[in-house]
């Protein structure tokens, strides 16, 4: 995996750019840990101040310093994305490897379920959960729900790889050597699917964070929990653009675009890496 990253950084400019962008955002979000202000408090600063030396990103109509507000918001969003990604990875890797390796009826059943999940439009379902849970739909519950919806594509992908691996020499050896299925999957196959897992991880974060933004802007999440989405929600509530508090919309949007672009580049270049032909084309020979 490490060597993979080295190659990518050496030969793949997109990956490098992605790394830089994501790095920037992560660093920015990390600042929130040393934030001098509690992002949940309002009217601590003079409202509607444009960006200045004192308030780098200005202040919003709720009297919050946007720099620290956004820093916290992005931390929360990233954490959210990570949570969903990790949880759904667990599902998709288990399902993918199991289906691919065991094959037979296990595979058929799993993939059948998989197809059901694939063909369900997720946004209405999420709205539905909100409709029922309302205020009980806190961030973690949401993450959990999304994790349960966000695994099928990647499970399918991992399965196809696992299938390939199944017929490789080392698998047979491992099996003859009397390795348990679990062992085979974890110790022999996992390393091979790691790059895919990484790529899908990024994609999954893109997906879940995008949905979070949407739900939040519609007011369907915990609004007192600063995230990319809730920041935009409040700026809409205060009609920020029309009253000329443009920085309250423009800055978050720019940051959001940076985040998503970065993640996407990472995922994309990793995908390319996984496909050997395009990799070779890049590295020559």
């Amino acid at each position: 995996m490490i060597s993979v990253f080295r190659d990518l950084i050496r030969y793949n400019i997109e990956f490098t750019i992605g790394l830089v962008l994501v790095g920037l955002v992560v660093a920015f979000a990390a600042l929130s840990f040393i934030s001098p202000v509690d992002p949940s408090l309002i009217y601590l600063a003079v409202p509607d101040q444009p960006p200045s030396a004192q308030h780098w990103f200005g202040t919003n109509s709720r009297g919050q310093d946007l720099f620290w507000q956004l820093s916290a918001a992005f931390r929360n969003s990233l954490i959210f994305g990570l949570t969903v990604a990790v949880l759904s990875r667990i599902i998709s890797i288990t399902v993918g490897l199991a289906a691919g390796y065991l094959g037979g009826w296990v595979d058929r059943v799993l993939m059948f379920i998989n197809d059901i999940f694939v063909s369900v439009p997720i946004f209405p379902i999420l709205v539905l959960f909100y409709f029922v849970l309302r205020s009980d739909l806190d961030t973690f519950t949401l993450a959990l729900i999304m994790a349960c919806l966000g695994w099928p594509f990647d499970a399918r992908l991992i399965r196809s790889v696992a299938r390939g691996l199944k017929h490789r020499e080392f698998t047979r050896h491992a099996v003859f050597a009397g390795m348990s299925t679990r062992k085979v999957l974890l110790e022999e196959h996992l390393p091979y699917v790691m790059p895919i897992v990484f790529a899908t991880f990024m994609n999954n974060m893109l997906w879940s964070m995008a949905l979070e933004v949407t739900l939040a802007v519609l007011g369907f999440t915990n609004l007192n929990h600063p995230t990319m989405g809730t920041v935009l929600y409040w700026s809409n509530q205060h009609s920020a653009i029309v009253v000329g508090v443009w920085w309250w919309v423009v800055i978050p949007v720019v940051l959001i675009v940076i985040t998503f672009l970065g993640l996407f580049l990472l995922a994309m270049s990793m995908n390319e890496y996984i496909d050997p032909r395009s990799r070779l084309r890049r590295m020559g020979v």
């Binding site: 408090l41 309002i42 009217y43 409202p47 509607d48 109509s61 709720r62 009297g63 309302r134 205020s135 007011g219 369907f220 915990n222 609004l223 007192n224 809409n236 509530q237 205060h238 009609s239 920020a240 653009i241 029309v242 009253v243 000329g244 508090v245």
Partner: protein, 641 residues
Amino acid sequence: MHRRSFLLAGTAAGVLTLAAKGLAFAQEAEGSAPDLAEFPRKETLIIHNPEGVIRNPGWFNNWVVGAGNALSNGLHQLTTDTFWLIDPDAGLEGASENAIYNSLADGLWEYNEDFTEMTVKLKPGIYWSDGVEFTADDVVFTVEKHKATPGLSQNGAYNAQVETVEAVDPYTVHFTLKGPNSRFHTLFSVRWTGAWIMPKHVFENVEDILSFPNDPPVSLGPYTLHSYDPNGTWYIWQRRDDWERTALGMIGEPKPRFIIYRNNISPDNRLIEMRNGNLDMVHDLSPEATFSIIQQDPQIQGWFPGFPYAHPDPTLVMAIFNLQKPLFEDKRVRWALALMLDARAMSMASYRGAATLSAISVPPTGTHPRDFHGPLQDFLINYELDTGSRTIKPYDPDVGLQIAEMVRGQFPDAPTDETAVRNAFGYGWWKQDLQAAEELLTSAGFSKQGNQWMMPDGQPFRFSVMVPTDGVVNRLGAIIAQTWAQNGIGAQVEAASDTWDRQRVGNYDVNISWAVETWGGHPDLSFFLDSYHSEYIKPLGESQPDRNWMRWEDPRLDELIEKIRASDFNDPVGIEYGHEFVKLHLEEMPNIPIMAYNVFSVQSNRYWTGWPNIDRPYANPVTNWSNGRYIFTQITPVEGA
């Protein structure tokens, strides 16, 4: 290749035909939409209806409960009518008395001495838009049809209150009630939806009223339906040629020949559309939006000529304690929480200073300052509170003036004249007095560990503050919770989209909402007070009828309510009872009254002028629930516009 594109084309065709079918559907939905050229601006008034998309635009039968969301698309303002209307503001000089208009009725209600019968005289010469005369038979039909049909809006009301109703003669209706009820007439006194009278000659032939769309509606008002959007985003109404033959017409000529109600306009778009001259009346904007549009366009006005612009609605925003939770059973605790709050912070946070504060449980709006806030000012100034270790005078009569000073920097047009300030910013509120609060809590057996207050049972004093997901009330709740939290109370703000349901079943600790709503123009408090009677109180989990959300129970309160019930609506003693109520409330502090629900409704003088405002408060400018219909008789087109 070609096979694929063929297949895709196939699907495309399929879908498009589907879409076409849908449009055909929309078409069938009778959309003879207007060509705006037909509507010269100086004859056309364009009003913003705060609703979203109206999902059953072709539904005009507003007697069915929950019938569609077309509640303020002009239908009830322009085509329906009932006996009286009580104005939330002062009402028109001459046309109304005590803000009471006789609309279909020719005079006030006449009760017998024990309030078990009510007689109503009707104005002769009122005609439905299809030329049929309006008579007592329509009233009798309406009441009886409602009693017989569950699912009609007043079915419950009539069944609960009306024994019999008969038409003494074409212009006289006589009600026999099931019990004494001195406020029965209020059922026919409009707030938003009143007991509208049905056109007998139309509805008597209808098989199932609950599924009868009533399109186009036969109108009892001066306007009839011209056309509407099959997708439910606008309605156009046209003045009747015989508008004089309607109750409103008898009060004055409605000037606009056409009135367009437009809904589903996002807050941002409202501002843009009004600036572009495509809206004359906007129901509400965010405070920020109001400030910026008034800056950008001198023709646009609010209720006050300068800051704070917004119109104080006759609803009183308050922190409602859930009195059935042990957390708040001790009134000293409730008072302590009140004294911890900082009126200035609340005003700034919620309304950027544009709030009209009220320390008492009567909204500082309409004619109430005249009847309550003014007269009670001295009482409040001298009001004494025993903190357990000393007595203090918690009231600060000048907080309004202080806020006016604070905002004058940003808004030079804020008033300076004292009475003007009091009317705009309120007559005063409680001083933030943390020390007194601590004393009260301590005397209530609370103790402070570090910066956290502990209840007598040793548990930390924690609760959630429920607020809606947006708007000024949300902002207010946020700052309230924050202030309490900063003073050692474990208060957590909780933005919920279903606050209304949850306050109904008592699923909250503290709820920022309003448990007080009044006529606004009339001193009678029965509007909300009658429902405070203990006979209606339900246990937590069960649905509490409006509006005693805190489930406040007190024998003195019941006594007072019964006295009010026994007195006539217009009996001046009502004001005294009102004062009694205010004092009782202060003693108990079952909820913390904070400010009027100020609505930033603005009007443009670009094409029409003569809007109501603080100097000429003849009507409430909000476009949905108020009696805005009288505005149409007062405005005039702007020359040369």
